[in-house]
Symmetry: C2
Subunit: 423 residues, 2 copies
């Protein structure tokens, strides 16, 4: 039987994009083992990288003394001191950021970190008011959409959109709209963006990021930068954009897209006061973070692999993959009205069908029937209250797949979309 659920319970068990996605990833394969899985955020299997991780894993367990550190200890609230020192040192050496361990907390992965952080900074306030986390640039990560413990938790500013040559397009922060709206008023507790953006692979230029951070600081709210796909690791930036941190930013890092999602591990980099608050809430909700992730990260840092793998392997690998995926998709959709977002990073293609004669949720169902799993874009506009037709005309594809999977998927995508557009 299912007992009465609280308001929180009803909210968290109602329809949710991220739950549908994670269920689909499991069950779609059960119902159709040949399903072409372009749906999730699962990182690619890259033999050379797996071999390096195997080496680290074997080294970690080679010494029986290390087993206790891996299995038998609880970490303190902010996590293993030595690992936090090590990461602070690395970020200082690499970028000159003036950090020490008090700027860093170990987390059980990016999703867990974001859900705690968002609820620390937004929701019902003690004075009876209600604050929201604001996305200055949507589309954004569908997994953000449901993490608020209260309703009406996010807001968003509609982006500007430029059409570019060769069927490309790009979203931009509409700074005028951002400043004119309520985003910088008392109803906002934090600004947040992912960089590169999931789903569109958009990377906010450094100058605009600084502008955004300055705006946020002027209004005494932090800027959360979710670097799940970004710098310094897994480093999936294909342009020359730089990493960024200031004492007004909260940087979320994760090991997942390095190819290590099973470790559920990441870091928050922020002011000591913010890190202290985060660690306390994390202790209450999770008691402690797991040991395997930070010890694995320590091993990667010690050898230099934590930055070497992104620079020497992951980034070139995904960039090559992007090129062939883009070519396959553009060719398959040659006759279909379609724009492809410029991909500066991450591992997704974001397709916009401006004349789509049905919703992307229906398109998603038709594609699934035909054996291709994608993400309908409807869920990628958290907090956007305005009804925007565009938000029902986009889909996300992961290209972190084998070339032949992408080729077959492109063929099906082309066939279905030609049929739908009658071309």
């Amino acid at each position: 039987m299912l007992p009465d659920l609280s308001r929180f319970g009803k909210k968290f068990t109602a329809a949710s994009g991220i739950v549908d996605l994670m269920e689909d990833l499991g069950s779609a394969l059960l119902s159709n083992p040949d399903m072409l899985m372009l749906g999730g955020g699962t990182p690619a299997r890259i033999g050379m990288v797996e071999a390096i991780y195997s080496r680290h894993l074997r080294a970690l367990v080679a010494d029986d003394q290390s087993h206790y550190h891996l299995l038998g200890r609880y970490q303190s609230p902010a996590g293993d001191e030595a690992v936090r020192d090590q990461l602070a040192g690395l970020l200082n050496a690499e970028y000159g950021w003036p950090l020490d361990r008090h700027n860093i907390a170990i987390t059980n992965g990016g999703q867990s970190a974001f859900s705690i952080l968002a609820n620390l900074l937004a929701g019902p306030m003690e004075d009876g008011s209600h604050k929201r986390v604001h996305f200055p640039l949507v589309p954004e990560y569908l997994g953000y959409a449901d993490v608020g413990f209260s309703e009406n938790f996010f807001s968003a500013t509609k982006p500007a959109l430029s059409l570019l040559p060769e069927r490309r397009f790009k979203y931009h922060i509409d700074f005028d709209a951002l400043s004119a709206g309520e985003a910088l008023g008392p109803a906002t507790g934090a600004l947040c963006l992912s960089r590169p953006t999931n789903p569109s692979g958009n990377i906010l230029p450094l100058a605009e990021l600084q502008q955004l951070d300055t705006l946020a600081a002027r209004h005494a709210i932090p800027l959360i930068i979710d670097a799940a796909y970004g710098l310094p690791f897994p480093g999936l930036h294909f342009d020359d954009s730089a990493a960024y941190w200031s004492d007004n930013t909260i940087l979320l890092l994760s090991l997942s897209k390095l190819g290590l999602p099973g470790l559920r591990s990441g870091f928050v980099v922020g002011s000591p006061e913010l890190i202290e608050a985060f660690s306390r809430a994390n202790t209450i909700l999770n008691l402690a973070s797991g040991n395997a992730g930070p010890l694995f990260a320590a091993s990667l840092m010690e050898s230099g692999d934590l930055l070497k793998i992104p620079r020497e392997i992951l980034c070139p690998w995904y960039e090559r993959k992007l090129e062939s995926a883009q070519a396959a998709i553009l060719q398959a959709l040659e006759q279909v009205p379609c724009h492809l977002h410029v991909t500066d990073g991450a591992f997704f293609l974001w397709l916009w069908f401006p004349e789509l004669p049905l919703s992307t949720t229906e398109l998603y169902q038709q594609l699934k029937q035909e054996g291709v799993l994608v993400i309908p874009g409807d869920t990628a506009f958290p907090g956007l209250e305005e009804d925007w037709l565009h938000s029902r005309q986009c889909i996300r594809l992961s290209y972190a797949v084998e070339d032949d999977v992408m080729a077959r998927a492109a063929e099906i995508l082309g066939r279905v979309l030609r049929r739908l557009h009658g071309v």
Copy 2:
């Protein structure tokens, strides 16, 4: 800088017993490396068990193919299907419980599971009312106290208390008070108890557990049984009490007290509807559970070690430890007015000083000054609204320590308490 925090943020960053405890465990040792650590819930280091875990760990990473399963995959919302099948099969074979994988979800440890569950079942309701999680028997685990996303989240029924020979005492559920109060009315969303109880090592007899579950079912609320220290694993039951599950109960299991807290892994066993709700909320808040815990558990299940280690090693080991710890403490406190709770399980001594001339928080500070870390009992009565002097007269000690640590701690404890009592 610390930005404005939400109501949730203020609540979660205010004083918290569990945060103080986890911080103490880290920092007390930094400030005094000789500190006698009787404070935490860290399981004992047992060489024979560590050797077995080392064997499993080495086997898990021996095969390069398994590394991907450990590191590279996301689990589906309720967790790895094969591991859930395996645990269902084991519980069915062992206890005859009619379970399949749909009754089981994998969690990131007991604390994470409880905090999600509690907030699914209590807090603000859609009809505007507010429900609470009720503890029919306090003292209870201090880590429960702060997990509610809203205020006034727990309630508790004051226990009956029997004085027993040889300076022992024991808490009992006061079923009359439980039925007479509001605990079984519309303001309660679930009953909850740990079995054995942390901190007192109390094990609710099977007949009373059934009575409690029947009462709960009659009022259409579930009974949460937190078996973090209990059956089937880590199995720290020193009496002959049995494991219990019904389709009205939600059983929380964890690998931590087996000696594996670094894995942050456990299981929820409940109705399929409850498991579905839990998994959805867990996906939103944590995306997925980690892989190391369930794969380690699978390896332990396959070899039979998951139940063999508790029965053949842990339970006898802790029971021996309990005997020597009790003897040392009772002797050291011979002249001090003191009662010791009957310990039927877990690895704590719960001491009651009925003539203590100061609060246990002050006693805790004095003991820390003298080099012994214990837990003041004040935090162990979550939800009890009545002012009960008794709740400020108890402390918890862990006896999961070396014998000489316990001997030195007992000596200091005796000295400090004799001084305080002027004997």
